[in-house]
């Protein structure tokens, strides 16, 4: 968690905003883990997961939008933690009513119940801040102008106030007066029970269900005698303000793929396939660029690295304890204590005052790791080629110093729009669900057995813009992992640098939009689960956390500058 955010003019504003969001999310995740006393909790995208399972936290105010301030995010996080601490999810699911509106009310009431059990003063404040922000946003977006919106809003205000004993939000107190009176007349006894039963989930559910059912019937009648604008207002309520969250439906990751976001994959029982692998290639990148041009690129690259001023020696020192193991390598003689060094005993005879007759074991660091950088060479990465090359090259130099083997691999395609694979598919009369439909091109910029000095021109091939076409990430990660598996080192690290999701026009058209994305997520998840490889995602100005459990957002403006290098080093230190 890098808090040393400095006002830096070179940062692009939207990357800065995204990074700030990521920092807030990491802080919130850390708070939830501590408050709920569960190390396995973490965010992926907006949703909270326990390990691989998305958690059914469906109260609408738990999901502040991206522009929300820090206090609001804290309140949502604390609400999630309290919910996990004090509510039994399976009991809640059993008791849940069927109707949409009733479900929403019941969900809200259960969330309010757990929030009312907050003990720490800071948590109470954060929850209040979040509640007020949510209420204000709901009201100001015009949703309280419809009778249905006003009804739901009033229910939320009244119930929370009843359970927690806090006043309703002052700004809208007059607005809800009339509806509040009606609700009290209908539900007085149930509302009164809420606070008394708040420590017992099952008992509390009785009045909560009663309230939910009554509100549902009120909502139905509100919509029935509405005047023409009903349909429009209901739609507006739904669209602008996702009132009823369904975390298990929304989260698109394959582990929750009961909803099957890639229909093609779902139909195939989750089996990814390629239509044809006849045109796939693994090529040495330096064989694709003229030698003179490579040397020219290399000069540009070297100048850029010198200008960036990264301290390679320091970086090597920081990486050494992470990537090496201590081994005994002979003896240090001439010590004042230790084992007697037989070859020095004659000295004792000559000069009896001599004390340094002993030897101790010498320890030194032996590299025990191999590191692979897998670089996304799809079209959009073209502009970052030089920056990425500089960034990776600095790491390679540091790794070289401590004797750690490293690979630099890239992935792209042989053609646009499917190339020969798509042509064959059309000739075969375009069968349904062909799977991956393009010529996969895997590039070798540097392999583990080539040292950095020899590989220098190869790395410079990253500057060749014509290599960049489309990107099929999942298979590339598999390929890099396979290469790592053949290495003797006991620790294997794979760092994937990318600026977005997989993209391949032909495959998306012939299958569906999520086909490649879901394959990437599945591949990374299997790798992480197997533990054979430590996988890291480095997103260029983009959040990779939906795919990788360990990722960071790198500012493209700062590629190859010390900050970017430090961020990746910190991530490695935190995770290894």
């Amino acid at each position: 968690m890098d808090s040393t955010a400095t006002a830096d003019r070179t940062v692009t504003p939207d990357t800065a905003a995204r990074r700030r969001q990521q920092q807030i999310r990491q802080l919130c995740a850390a708070s939830i883990r501590a408050l709920a006393a569960d190390p396995a909790l973490d965010f992926r995208g907006d949703h909270l997961y326990r390990g691989r399972t998305v958690l059914p936290l469906n109260a609408p105010h738990l999901y502040p939008d991206d522009a929300a301030d820090f206090g609001s995010s804290r309140g949502a996080a604390d609400g999630m933690a309290l919910r996990l601490l004090h509510s039994d999810a399976s009991l809640h699911a059993r008791l849940r009513p069927a109707g949409q509106t009733a479900r929403l009310v019941f969900e809200l009431l259960e969330q309010f119940r757990t929030e009312s059990l907050a003990g720490q003063p800071g948590v109470v404040r954060n929850l209040r801040v979040r509640h007020e922000a949510w209420s204000t946003q709901f009201h100001r977006s015009g949703l309280t102008e419809t009778s249905l919106g006003l009804l739901l809003y009033t229910v939320a205000q009244v119930c929370r106030s009843r359970v927690t004993g806090e006043p309703v939000v002052a700004e809208t107190e007059d607005l809800i007066e009339q509806t509040r009176g009606r609700l009290s007349a209908l539900l007085g006894s149930d509302l009164a029970l809420l606070r008394r039963l708040r420590t017992r989930q099952a008992d509390y559910a009785e009045p909560a269900l009663a309230i939910a059912v009554v509100v549902e019937s009120l909502a139905d009648s509100a919509q029935a005698n509405n005047d023409g604008g009903a349909e429009r207002s209901a739609r507006k309520t739904r669209e602008q303000f996702s009132l009823l969250v369904d975390a298990e439906e929304d989260a698109w990751l394959p582990e929750t793929a009961a909803s099957g976001t890639s229909p093609t994959l779902a139909d195939d029982g989750g089996a990814y396939r390629a239509f044809t692998t006849a045109y796939d290639r693994v090529q040495r990148a330096d064989s694709l660029v003229r030698v003179e041009l490579l040397h020219d690129y290399r000069r540009r690259l070297d100048k850029r690295i010198v200008d960036s001023g990264v301290n390679v020696a320091l970086l090597a020192r920081r990486l050494e304890p992470l990537l090496c193991v201590p081994v005994t390598s002979g003896w240090n003689s001439g010590q004042e204590e230790g084992m007697i060094d037989g070859s020095r005993l004659s000295q004792l005879v000559c000069s009896p005052a001599e004390r340094r007759l002993f030897q101790t074991e010498r320890h030194e660091a032996r590299p025990a790791t191999v590191v692979t950088f897998l670089i996304d060479c799809s079209g959009s990465m073209k502009q970052h080629g030089e920056g990425i090359a500089a960034y990776v090259d600095v790491f390679l130099r540091a790794l070289e110093r401590i004797g750690v083997a490293s690979e630099v691999l890239g992935f792209t395609t042989g053609a646009w729009n499917g190339g020969k694979a798509a042509r064959d598919w059309k000739r075969a009369r375009s069968p349904r669900r062909p799977g991956r439909l393009n010529e996969v091109n895997h590039l070798l910029f540097k392999d583990a057995d080539t040292n950095w000095r020899k590989a220098r021109p190869g790395i410079a091939a990253l500057l060749k813009t014509t290599l960049y076409r489309e990107g099929i990430d999942g298979e590339a990660v598999q390929w890099a992992a396979r290469r790592l598996a053949d290495r003797p080192e006991q620790r294997r690290i794979l760092i994937v640098l990318s600026d977005g999701s997989p993209a391949d026009g032909a495959t998306a058209l012939a299958n569906d939009e999520h086909y490649l994305q879901q394959h990437l997520a599945t591949v990374v998840r299997e790798l992480e689960d197997s533990g054979a490889v430590n996988v890291f995602g480095v997103g260029l100005g983009l959040d990779m956390s939906p795919y990788f459990s360990r990722s960071l957002i790198l500012d493209t403006e700062r590629l190859g500058q010390p900050e970017g290098v430090r961020e990746l080093t910190c991530l490695l230190e935190r995770s290894l």
């Binding site: 968690m1 890098d2 808090s3 040393t4 955010a5 400095t6 006002a7 830096d8 003019r9 940062v11 504003p13 800065a16 905003a17 990074r19 700030r20 920092q23 807030i24 802080l27 850390a30 708070s31 883990r33 501590a34 408050l35 006393a37 569960d38 190390p39 820090f70 206090g71 804290r74 604390d78 720490q120 003063p121 800071g122 948590v123 109470v124 404040r125 954060n126 304890p321 992470l322 990537l323 090496c324 193991v325 201590p326 204590e337 230790g338 084992m339 007697i340 004792l348 009896p352 004390r355 007759l357 074991e361 025990a368 006991q490 910190c570 935190r574 290894l576």
Partner: protein, 322 residues
């Protein structure tokens, strides 16, 4: 001192725990017997495990997070049994030679001769002595092989350099403490040691774990050490402090922070509160400044939850990006 198991004492009388167990004790202390802390609170299960170790010569490994008072617990049991004991910390610096002994040059009758100087293990082995290995999980592989032989209950100990075989004294006992192994090893320098530990695990007859005290007890202990916080407002303050400490312990388990607050840290925070009258400042002096720079924002979150106040380190106060 002679080892006489004849003198028996009941666990209920000596340790205030609910058990009819009778354990042997020595009639009087010697210089190696720790001081008795009359206010010490014994954990029921851990005490029974340790007493089994003392009474029946079992090897007991005590696990628990940093600052739960593992070694102190063993020492306090030994203190009440008048059992001499010695602690050896197995951090990465102690070597096989330190444990076993080594040749040194000494002056005898004006002449230099090499003498074998006994290490702590042979010395402890030959007398009634409870040997405690602290930070057992940080021991170097070569050290672990030495201990391996000691773990056999009647295991004799061979001094290879001396061609001597030592038989353990009937009053010799072996204990170890280790931090909970769960996070793996963060500094990456000791791969392999963990694996060896697991190979050794089953040589320990009893593995007990010690957790942090319940909040109420920890509050009581802090207040007994800092009486100026023993009034009503003081109790609320100390309760919040203990809550922060518990959040750091949870955060440590999750790997979010690499430093946690032991009961000792809470006490020194409380002492600083008594001096500075400002919980946030005292917190910074007694804990935040020890934390890694990059983790201070997380600690500030913990503090905000329990105190409803922002530390200077909080992300809330970080200068925004351009």
């Amino acid at each position: 001192m002679e080892f006489r198991p004849g003198l028996m004492v009941s666990a209920r009388d000596a340790f205030g725990i609910d058990s009819g167990l009778m354990v042997p004790m020595f009639p009087e202390p010697n210089e190696h017997v720790p001081e008795i802390d009359p206010a010490y609170r014994f954990n029921h299960d851990v005490t029974l495990a340790l007493l089994a170790g003392f009474a029946h010569n079992r090897r007991v490994l005590l696990q628990g997070l940093h600052g739960t008072g593992k070694s102190t617990h063993i020492e306090q049991v030994a203190a009440r049994l008048n059992w001499p004991c010695i602690r050896v910390n197995l951090d990465g610096h102690i070597s096989r030679l330190d444990l076993v002994g080594k040749d040194t040059v000494v002056i005898e009758d004006g002449r230099q001769v090499t003498r074998f100087q006994e290490g702590v293990v042979p010395w402890a082995l030959q007398q009634p002595m409870a040997l405690i290995f602290d930070e057992y999980d940080a021991g170097r592989p070569d050290v672990m092989f030495v201990i391996q032989r000691l773990l056999e209950r009647d295991g004799s100990f061979t001094l290879t350099d001396q061609n001597r075989v030592l038989r353990p004294h009937p009053g010799f006992r072996l204990f170890a403490t280790s931090n909970t192994v769960g996070l793996g090893n963060l500094n990456g320098m000791y791969h392999g040691v963990q694996r060896l530990n697991h190979a050794q695990m089953d040589r320990w007859n009893i593995v007990a774990s010690l957790n942090y005290l319940p909040a109420a007890e920890e509050i009581a202990i802090v207040q007994s050490r800092v009486p100026s916080l023993a009034d009503g407002p003081g109790t609320a303050l100390v309760a919040s402090m203990v809550e922060v400490a518990n959040l750091t312990r949870q955060g440590f388990l999750a790997g979010d922070v690499s430093t946690l607050m032991s009961p000792r840290t809470v006490i020194s925070w409380a002492e600083n509160v008594a001096v500075f009258r400002d919980p946030a400042l005292a917190f910074r002096l007694s804990f935040v400044n020890k934390c890694d720079e990059s983790e201070r924002t997380v600690v500030a979150e913990y503090f905000q939850r329990c105190f409803d106040a922002e530390l200077e380190e909080s992300f809330e106060r970080a200068p925004a990006y351009a």
